[in-house]
Symmetry: D2
Subunit: 281 residues, 4 copies
């Protein structure tokens, strides 16, 4: 699938500051960047860096005090994804997990899986096979957590959401991740552009490691699973913030776009009869 | 310096389980392993894996239900460390940080630096240069947090410790890390064997990234900074647990040793006049 | 019903301290104290005080440094309780609640009902009538929270228990109270002696205000509802601790007894067909 | 001192709801209400109730669905307060505290004194006499916590504020109360009208029980201590909310006034040389 993605951000910088931006589409075997531009007004020289510990293409630059900096990223993406037979998406035993995946079993800042063992096991522990277990987690979040803009903030974590039962896509993803890890299923945070998301915005989902594949889940059900363009994956939002700001910086504008650049799109959502799952990479 | 290190752990395994052990001394340019044995009784085939996202040598093995498994690790280590002039240990600007270090600015499970900005900046923000800033953090923890065995558990985080003011080495390290990150100084968790620690046990400290080096700090002041043998570094204890247990496993015995294997040892501690700092790697 | 109740507590007092003891059976219209002795060895003059804001008979005394103080309370209680038709136990509208009951709608230290509105309403909001609603809360706690000695401490609150799903009678009661208040049903903490509780100990339950009566519920289901001797009621355990210790005091012994002092006892537990509920007072 | 106080609140009621309003000035031996009106538009019959467990004059009324209800309270108050010699404001030993005061030693929803023992004792434990101890607490809060509108919400408690170091008058009061109780000094929440507060609003302070008197402290230092008109005292904001809303009610307007109704006013603030303290009642 081809998508035109874009993001426009404006920051006012009060003192000399450094911004690490994380809005570029990832380059992966299945995600090709056909065209891409980053414009910063006024012009600032940037450095692209590849983070370790998560997948992302960071852009770092310094901004002088008193600058109103306008950032525009545009890209044309050619994206594909795997269709996976859900019957093959069984749990991978801990002794078979690749070393690179083990880190996604650990609790992280916003996904305190260590506090959710009983809850996860009581509610989902006996559901088999593993794909259905994660689907049940995703459905439970969808059915029990209210999507409510402004109900949470940057400190809200899965431990809050599991009780307070309100949040946005970020919170839905964190809770999904925490519950998977509490059941010894590796899970990670996915942030990206999302076709048909209303209102348009950056989106957050989660990936669970099933049958040797990173399978995408979206507990918000707000957008099709096959309309995503990956920006980053990481342990949680602490790894994958759209921007890390060092200094005195205020964001005054965010505008995000994701449009189809071809004719046909057949939206994919999971339901209880799903036999095909979606995996990027 | 040469050290004989050892650890003996006994686990009773009630159902088929997987253990990922993290007691091996790291191999680094300055830490050579002269001899090393791992014995598991009854014999179990193990696999050594190298984790990503943190530095450690993990050993993974499966244990059958009903087994009482005794693990003994012994090694002879030849260890050196850098003496660094504290004047050179200035803060590295965010725009100069290597990509691999950036992840150690993010909040993590036990180090919620995002909640400590005001606290860290009010108390330590104006102390310069950076080495003295981190030393002030370490000293403040030492002077304000009571070392009290049993006062905390595996869920205790820096956010608890900064207020409750009691904990063990793990908690001291987490708080040091969180305060550094809140000040935009990369910091990570260090776990290892520790010469002259009383009572003998695994030890936890933290490293701050200053002047391009990972400099060791120990807010407990319970053992000399130059008597450490590194097992692992990571974002916090979630990355670097001595053992991760998957299944129904109970630990019934832990015994740790670290003895000098040569004649002379001049213990190093920092104080307010320190002009030389210690860095492993 | 007649019960012989007793408690023996030993404290070692390291510096001059004040103890406020809360082990006396309450005097209420339905709870008569036939005999009662309090012995403190060595002899210390005590003062009985009646707290405000909760119902309890507190005994206050000062202990000199270096004293090992043994306290023995024994009483013969004649206790009755109301049998209430569950059909009459409907919700009392907020505008009809007596002023003295309103305080039991507010969140308190261990019962953060303000954080549980969505959870309580989603799960229990539509169950009618009110007795069944509270019964459903009590049953949900019983079915989902594991009774596990030592899993919690004096700082554990309903907000923890609702997610971590382990605790002791105190935690079960706090969660029941918090969920009732989140549904605008007044609820309070009940602590007392409990016949047939195994192992013998002080017990904690909760009372919900239904149909104009304080109806007793015990989410642990560990003891019959008609075998209780009330020590105190209050907003939560912060109001009704068995002892408040001011100074440096360590408890070294607690022993509690509650024996039937007549021939016949027909234990009462609720179940889904219960048509009769129990109310003390 | 004479003050004209007023409050105007507008609520939109979506479903039949009950409001318990808490804006009336208290009647106390030193606070006389010379004139008072409460107007509700459209007219609704109200009931005045006196809460137990805290001091307040609550007004309760039911509002039908679809009503936009405008409330206006106006009163002319004649207020006096005690001038107390700070030398007399010593700590009252626990064994001498009146029974009615004991409850203000307990932790409460927003004042988790049980978590702050070490912090309070380390920082303030050795300051004598007691008035200076509480003054040091109040000054520490003022100097370390940033007054920042919108930084906190109705769930924020002293345990958050002591670390996050930002809040509004309510948070300042909660932290002051929690620290006093952690030091065995009874403390309670005070809400009222406040002359010279800018911008005009309801205000919150705290009272500490010293030398047998409830002495007023205001860690915000935003208004003179002798310009207060008491609405309520209680354990914390859970007891003393300006309005408790049962049903679906949204507040769309709050306006508060407090004007001097005589010619001369000499504002009183404490400083380190204060020899006179202020007590209402």
């Amino acid at each position: 699938m081809k998508f035109n993605v874009s993001s426009r951000l404006t920051y006012y910088v009060q003192e000399d500051s450094t911004i690490i931006l994380n809005v570029h589409a990832l380059r992966t075997p299945t995600q090709t960047i056909l065209e891409e531009t980053l414009q910063i007004d006024p012009y600032i020289k940037t450095e692209e860096i590849t983070s370790t510990g998560c997948e992302s293409r960071l852009v770092r630059f310094k901004v002088n005090a008193g600058t109103n900096v306008k950032i525009e990223y545009k890209a044309l993406i050619d994206n594909s994804y795997k269709h996976l037979d859900t019957n093959s998406l069984t749990e991978v035993a801990v002794e078979e997990l690749p070393a690179s995946v083990l880190t996604f079993l650990n609790p992280s800042r916003y996904c305190q899986s260590d506090k959710l063992y009983r809850f996860a096991n009581n509610k989902f522990g006996s559901i088999e096979p593993a794909f259905n277990k994660v689907l049940a987690i995703s459905d439970w979040i969808h059915d029990n957590v209210e999507y409510l803009s402004g109900s949470t903030n940057s400190q809200t974590s899965a431990y809050d959401t599991v009780t307070e039962l309100a949040g946005v896509c970020r919170d839905f993803a964190h809770l999904g991740i925490a519950l998977c890890r509490a059941l010894s299923i590796p899970a990670r945070y996915f942030t990206g552009y999302s076709y048909l998301l209303k209102p348009a915005d950056f989106h957050a989902c989660f990936e669970a490691y099933l049958g040797g594949e990173w399978v995408i889940f979206d507990a918000t059900k707000l957008a099709p699973l096959n309309g995503l363009v990956k920006i980053a994956t990481g342990r949680d939002a602490a790894d994958t913030a759209i921007a890390n700001l060092f200094g005195n910086v205020n964001c005054s504008w965010i505008e995000v776009g994701c449009e189809l650049a071809e004719d046909v799109f057949n939206p994919v959502f999971y339901n209880s009869e799903s036999t095909v799952a979606v995996s990027y990479i």
